[in-house]
């Protein structure tokens, strides 16, 4: 359940999403990915409102988004190269996608291995996915985003199966690759330290509402304690905090992505986006 949430992303912006389990991080990512329609409020891509468009047009808009779910969505017996190349299907016609399915071309292999290289997996390119470790699979799922034509990358808890060193490498690769591709990046984390260290903008989410939305330098330890605190802060207070909070507006670039669900209202569960 999301509510009272107003979020604008600039092109190329990198945002970390933190908050306790069940805060709505995954739901928010799904709404941003156009995988879930909001029951109230508006999602806007540039000047388009996808949910006001026909489903065919909306589906073509999805080519602009890449969503990496928490559990890497890879069929077990597929080869890594195919799994990675699946990331750019929206850019291929039916024939090209079939031929690449049967026999990936030299160029496609080069592209996939360049993406895998970033995550230190180039040597696994022709392995079968079910022969990889959990962490390797998760990184293959991320490499998929690098070959996609998407300009907005949404990544849900990418570090769950990674050890600390790999986790650091993966975040670095992800942020660098997003910068190189000029893509906006939204990543949800359980690791607050990583979020604070690597992202210029951190969004604290709790019970479906934004608790803070600031640069890491402006986030005080009390804010974090509040975010994860055991004694549940009443939803009304959270929303009040949010609405009175000066949100960093971004006047530099036109927003390619905007999400707004009843921006200044109090808690109105009936108007929020439903949980997946």
């Amino acid at each position: 359940m999301l509510r009272g949430l107003d979020l604008t992303l600039a092109p190329g912006e990198q945002v970390a999403l933190i908050g306790p389990s069940g805060a709505g991080k995954t739901t928010l990512l799904h709404v941003l990915a156009l995988a879930l329609a909001p029951t109230a409020g508006v999602v806007q891509f540039g000047d388009k409102q996808p949910w006001a468009l026909s489903s065919g047009v909306r589906h073509r808009l999805r080519a602009n988004v890449f969503l990496a779910p928490q559990v890497p969505p890879l069929p077990p017996r597929q080869r890594v190269v195919t799994s990675v190349l699946a990331g750019r299907l929206s850019a291929l016609g039916a024939w090209r996608s079939l031929s690449s399915w049967v026999h990936p071309s030299r160029r496609e292999i080069a592209e996939a291995s360049a993406a895998l290289q970033r995550f230190d997996l180039a040597d696994k390119i022709f392995e079968r996915v079910d022969r990889l470790s959990g962490g390797e699979r998760q990184r293959v799922g991320l490499a998929r985003g690098l070959v996609s034509p998407a300009r907005l990358w949404l990544v849900d808890e990418p570090l769950a199966a990674l050890d600390p060193v790999r986790a650091r490498q993966a975040v670095q690769a992800l942020t660098e690759a997003a910068r190189d591709h000029g893509a906006s990046l939204v990543v949800s984390f359980h690791q607050v330290d990583i979020a604070m260290a690597w992202f210029p903008r951190v969004l604290g989410l709790r019970e479906g509402a934004v608790v803070f939305d600031r640069a890491p330098a402006d986030i005080r330890p009390e804010d974090l304690a509040d975010l994860y605190g055991g004694e549940g802060v009443p939803a009304a207070m959270v929303t009040a905090t949010m609405t009175s909070d000066p949100r960093p507006s971004d006047p530099i670039a036109p927003a390619p992505m905007m999400l707004s669900a009843s921006p200044t209202d109090g808690p109105a569960p009936s108007r929020g986006a439903p949980a997946a």
């Binding site: 999805r62 890449f66 017996r77």
Partner: protein
């Protein structure tokens, strides 16, 4: 549900089943007694004696070998065709479920006798018949397998703007492929048995040889055909087991 299954329902079902068994035996009048008179025992003995002397002349063996090959071809081709049809149905036509049920419910032999009228005697009719029945069976199994799979991979690709065909090839199919293959192999084992008998209505293969020689009371030759059938069935079972094992 099991917890509240009343004892009475079980008892009722048991009584019904017992009644079915008693009524079955009563209405069939199997006359088992007649089989054990001296005369019929002697006739049976003669029958068995001839049966255990298979005809192994080179000429006849060649005929049987060709029949075996034909039977193998009928089973393999029909299974492959049915798999392709089943896949097409599973991809695009889940609305044809009732058609699948009819295809399935009509036995191969009935299909074969119908198709004989259309395409004439020979293995073609048999192959088509096996294909129709098997397409019904596999189509349903494929549909269920694709529907019951985890939706994560398909969801991820669809969320990235992939088309239904792309989602099918890159997520839905690879996910269940081993299962589909295993169904198909089991069906092949079944089809080799069916192909071996379709000939009795004139649809080619070993069955045609068998019914022909039995009609002429050439039991030695019939017995060779039965042996060939046994060999072929065992070979296909082993082969299919092997493939399943290699893929698993």
């Amino acid at each position: 549900m099991t917890a509240i299954t009343p004892l009475r329902a079980r008892l009722g079902a048991t009584v019904v089943v017992l009644a079915l068994v008693v009524a079955s035996f009563a209405s069939l009048s199997l006359h088992t007694g007649e089989f054990f008179t001296l005369d019929s025992l002697r006739a049976m003995g003669r029958f068995v004696r001839e049966l255990v002397q298979p005809d192994l002349h080179a000429d006849f063996l060649r005929t049987v070998a060709y029949g075996t090959l034909e039977t193998f071809a009928m089973s393999a081709l029909s299974t492959a065709l049915a798999a392709v049809i089943g896949l097409l149905i599973a991809y695009g036509a889940s609305g044809v479920r009732p058609v699948l049920n009819v295809l399935r419910a009509v036995p191969e032999l009935a299909w074969a006798s119908l198709l004989l009228i259309w395409v004439g005697l020979g293995p073609f009719a048999g192959t088509l018949a096996l294909t129709l029945h098997t397409a019904g069976v596999l189509g349903r199994l494929y549909l269920e397998a694709l529907e019951n799979q985890p939706q994560g991979p398909a969801f991820a690709l669809a969320a990235a703007g992939a088309s239904p065909l792309q989602v099918f090839c890159y997520a839905r199919l690879p996910q269940v492929l081993p299962q589909l293959l295993s169904y198909t192999l089991y069906r092949w084992e079944n089809n080799i048995r069916a192909a071996a008998v379709l000939g009795v209505v004139g649809a080619g293969g070993l069955g045609q040889l068998l019914s022909y020689h039995l009609q002429l009371f050439q039991l030695g030759r019939a017995s060779t055909v039965v042996l060939a059938t046994l060999l072929l069935v065992t070979l296909v079972d082993l082969l299919s087991d092997r493939i399943r094992h290699d893929l698993g």
